[in-house]
Structure formats: C-alpha cells, structure tokens
Amino acid sequence: MNLENPTYVMIKMTAGVLATVGLYSVLYRETKLYRFFEHMFLGLAAGWSLKAIWTDTLKDQWWGQMVGKVDEQTGLMKEPAVWPWAFVVPMAFMAYLIFSRKHNWISRIPLGLLIGLGAGQTFLNWFNLYGPQMQDSVKVLIPTTFSSLTVPPVVNGQPDPNVYLSQAINNLIFVATLLCVLSYFIFCTEFKSRFLKGMSTAGRLVLMVGFGAIFGSTVMTRFALFIDRMYFVWIEWLWRSVLHLS
C-alpha cells in the first residue's frame, strides 16, 4: 500500500480529526460518541501491539530460530533450527494457570524467574543510578577565588575550575535544601530540638515549592498536547490538506 497516496492521506487525516473531536467531546459530557472513539482507540492499540509483537519479536527471535532457515535456491538449511526454543511455549502458558484454583501455584515458576531477573538487575544497577548523584551532592561551599563575584563567560569552550561566590551561594542553598528535605523523612525519632524541628519544617516547605514547580511543568505538557491536537485539526488537516494553503 502506498502510504503517500493523497487520497489515503486525506482519509487517514479526516478519520484522525473525527476521532479528535469525538474524544474531546468528553469535556462536554461522556456521550456515546466519546465511548465509541475510546473503544475504537483501545481496540486499535491492542491489535497493533499484537501484530508488532509478532513481526518485531516472536517471528524472528522465536519462530525463526526454532524452525531455522532454508535456502530457497539450494533447498539446504541455511541456519540450523534450534528446537529447544519450543520449550518457551509451555513456560509461557504456565503463567496463565494463575486463573486455575487448583494449579495456580505453577504460575509462580515463570513469574518467579522474571522477578528474579528484574531484582538481580535492580541490585546491580542501583549504585550506577544513584551513586553519581550522591557524589554530586557533596559541593564546595567556600569560593576558591574572589576575582569575580559571578562566573565569567566561558573562553574557548574550556570549563573554569574555580568556584566563584555566586556558585558557592548556589551550592549552599543546594546543600541546605538537601539536608532539610532529608531531615523531614527521618521518622525513627522525635525531634525535640527547635533547630531540628525548624529544619524538618523547612524541608516540608521546600518540598512544596518543588511540587509547585513540577506542577507548572506538568501544565506545560498538558497544554502542549492540546495545542498539538488543535494544530492537527486546523493547520495539518484544514489549512494544508483541505484548503491546500502553504
């Protein structure tokens, strides 16, 4: 099928516009129109996923390996069949025995293998993930030079090893925030000192500021998604495809 055929592109885009309008109709009320497009989307996504899992993964990586490859010209085996791959099927079906009251213990075998695999990797990778961040939390709090209060412009792209006053202040704010937030999560003992109580309260406040900033960023994403749909309807479909404007 020629995916660049203008008629096909037009039909595809018009269907997209109808689906967009149908799904946004939920803003007014949950109607049958919305339900129709919602179910259509779910059905399409599930169907596509099944197809992709077969073509991208199972066909080459499992079926192809299991049955091998025959050279069409000579009729000889080009790649040998690795028949033990057949054992993967009963292993996979064992997971479905979770629905059997009598045999559900069998499903724990493949699930256990998967959990073990994941846990092993997590253990191995935990330090790779958080080690550098813990290391980066140790910051220089005293300026190494007072030649300039702020960081001078970069010359020839070379990083300046000095710590300037403005950087030291930034580092101090970072370290103070880190300690306050960590103190907020100490639940094993009761803080009696006013200083520690203040730290914990400050930790809660900076967390709130952080959540506010995250919320702002989240709002940008939600708007961007809505803007994209409107761009699709007004510019890509109406402006370019229907009216043929540049």
Binding site: K51, N125, Q133, S217, M220, T221, I227, D228, M230
Partner: protein, 326 residues
Amino acid sequence: MSDQNTGPAKKPIGELLQSANRTFLYFILFLVVSLSLVVTQIRKVEVPTQPEAYTIEAYKILRNVPPGGVVIVDTGFTNSSRGENGGQMEALLRILMRSGAKFAVLSWVEPQCIEIARGFIRTINEERKAGGEAPYREWEDYLVLGFFPDGPTMLQTVHQNVREAWKTRQATDPSTGEKKSVFESPVLRNVQKIEDVHAYVTLSASGTMPTIVARIGKQVKVISMITGVMFPEQLNYFKSGQLKGLVNGLSGCVELEWLMEKGIDSAGVVGGDAPGKPVAAAFKGAKNFDRGMAYYLALHSALSLLILAVAVGNVGMWLTNRSKKL
C-alpha cells in the same frame, strides 16, 4: 401582597469570580489556542527564547556527530505526546540527516512507537526531497531495529555485548532484497561495542531514561528528550553528569530549533559571530523552525489564560473572605 424578592438571589462578586463555568473556560482555551496557531501560521511568528545549558549540551553533541557516525534513537512515545516529543523527533532527525550521521531506531516502551518513528522519518525525507536533498535510505543510512519487549534485559546485554543483544535483528538489504543481520548494514557494520556509538538519544513520555543510564550511561553519551512532566526528576541526572544533554518538553524543542537556526560560535555564545570554528554550527538557510515554534505562541497564550484564571479565582476568594470578616 406579593413578595418582591422572588427572583434568584444574586451571587456576590467574590463568589461569582470563583464559580466560572468549566465548559466556558474550555471554550475560551479552545478559542485562544486556535487563534494563536492560525496567527503563527499566517504571520510566521518567531517567539524569541534563550536556550538552557542542558539543551545547549544536547545540541553540541548531536551537531558534532561526524558524517557516518552512529546514533541510537530509542523512541518511547506515541501520538499521545506528539505535542512535545514529535517536535523533538523532527529536530533530531533534521540534525542527524543534515550532519550525514547514521542512526538506528529501536523501542522497548510500546510497539506503536516504531511505526510513529517511521512516520516522522517519512515526513523529513519528503521535506529533503522537496528541498532537492537526497532522502535517507533504510539499510544504507538508517535502520529500524524494531520493538524489544524486555528493554531492561536488552540494555543489560548491550552493556556487555551489543552484537549479542541485537544479533537476531534483521533488515532488508535493497540491493539483494534479502533479509540480513543488521550488523551487515553500513549503519552498524563498524559497531563492535556500544562505545563505538556517538550518542544514545531517548525520546520518551515517561521515565525510561534511568533504565538506560544505569546500564550503559558510563559507556555512551545519553541524551534525554522528554515531556515537561518528566523533566524535573531528570534534571538531577544532568546535574550529576549522568545525562550529557536534556531537552525539556515543548520549550526544549523550541530551544533546539533556535540553536539550529542560530548556532553556537567559537566563544560558546548562542547566535554569536566570534571568528574561528563554531562550537556547534547553525544550519543557515535551512528549515529550522517547525513544530516547536508553531506551537510556542499558543503555549504562551494558554499559560497567560491560566495565570489570568488563577488570579481571578484568587481575587474572588479574597473578596469573599473580606466580606465574611465584615
């Protein structure tokens, strides 16, 4: 005698300001966004921006991939986050194709992602053809490695042996019409280990990046192009040096387009004209502003509307509280 006050009680102004009809607000948002998009389309509005350090670092790496250098594009988004990841993908493809870099696309998040990425490659190829440039050819210039259902394990294997991790992946060689191992393709022919790859770019709507960084972050430069939702938690990884570049949602996409237009001169200034070899050159005269800039005015209008709505609601609350005290 009839009662004179039978009509509905009039709401005080404070309460009125706090009880705006939600459907009405949606309608205003729809109007504002639609109008901004049409104005941008007609007037070709370019909202100025100042790229952040993390976007600049991402651009420096991508712009300096040598011709023939290999980049892995790990796509983890579907049409649901096209508003942010779509523009990022288009900018990424333009940079790679104009630099002559080769790239391989894979996904382990969602099977649809591969088809979505193919659509973007098709679009940019059409643009190249229309501009008189040679389109990128599958097998010769880029590869589609397909979907991996168990991404963490695949990446763990890539960490140890990239050839083992992708050994079953095949693509069609157009010269013979035969399916061959992806390592026979000009794209991955010289890749013996993951260190031979110039950058690993992940485009995602969710938190896939830590899985990548934990496994191969020390071997290859990882760049994350993400939605604004995920940005705050990923900034830590850039600050600690685990991520070499970061592109934050729609604003990051605009920054990337801005850098493509303006470049970074030899003194490290965006849009500067210092003599000498630029740190990351611009693509002068090419189509750099596209999806990101097309949405930017609408984003500003929508955010202004939101701020206005929050301000009106707060004024209403203040008026209500004041009238209660009186």
